[in-house]
Amino acid sequence: MARGKANDLRSRRIALFIAAACAAVAIPALVVLSSVSKHRSSPWFGSYDSAARPAYDFSLIDQDGKPLRLSDLRGHIVLVSFGFTRCPNICPATLGNLAAVFRKLPPEAQEKVDVVFISVDERDTPESLKEYVPFFNSNFFGLTGRPADIGATARAYGASFRKAPAVGEDKSDYTIDHSTYTHLIDPEGNMRLLYRFDQLPETGRIADDIQRLLGLPVNTPPPTVQ
């Protein structure tokens, strides 16, 4: 009888140990799995900046030669990309895709979206930007500024650039290597979403992100949370 009780106690201890061991493995596994599924079920196509930190309030010059701060655009979604007007491939591809995103938006969303192209090229002027940027969409506009202000803006947005060596005789005929991300700033002025260059052809999904942020109906429903 006493022996039976001891056995009973021992098997209960073993059962408890197994249960604890299972929990030790299962709980972290569940945490990992749930974070993966949370990641998968993110309603956003762009990378989501959950910290919602305020975007750097740049102070630049617009294509009409007037000063413009990011905070002047409060209340609008602002899509920011960096480039230069002598850029024949990457920048036209970026702005061409953003123009396609813009066309997909209903008028009530279009009037709340600004697409700005910040030149990282000291050769660019308000005039050269005005000839280049609105070509892709008449609502888009280019920004230039003092090199120090451009540098500070690029640094704050995690964008980089450098002059590539000139190829021919003409040393002023150089191109610029630059970051190709598009940053989405929400109407409250927070960094919200980031698009890689290779995501930009998915114009419908970017339009959906914008409409969702503006509280407008979207074309594709968000993935259902498992």
Binding site: P92, A93, E131
Partner: protein
Amino acid sequence: MKTCFFALVLAGGVACAGELKIDDPWIRAVPPGSKATAAFMTLSNSGSEVVEVTGGATPVALEVKPMITTKSKVDGHDVMGMEFVDRFSVEPGKKRVLEPGGDHIMLMKLKSVPKAGEVVALTIHLESQGKTETRTLQVPVR
């Protein structure tokens, strides 16, 4: 391949670049005042020898050169850039897609800026086994 072989025997050697197919060429419409634009296309080599694109010519630009897109890091951030190359190689049996954001043929020192809807003549210079060939395409601008 076969035609190429016979041609070699009969003519004492002609380029095999004829086995390179060029599909879906287009030129990007760029803003007025632009100094350069890019041409894109798909190159397919059905032959048994490497075919190379060495450059080209067009009435709308002074220079036509192959260019690749490069990816590198500056201050730990990814950046993209462009670099001229002497030639694009298309390996036998392979395809090489020239597309936005990737490799392209640069039209530089534009004499006139191609507008959307126009068609521009673009001659592509090909080389295979030391033999050269040119191919003139009628390329839509869009």
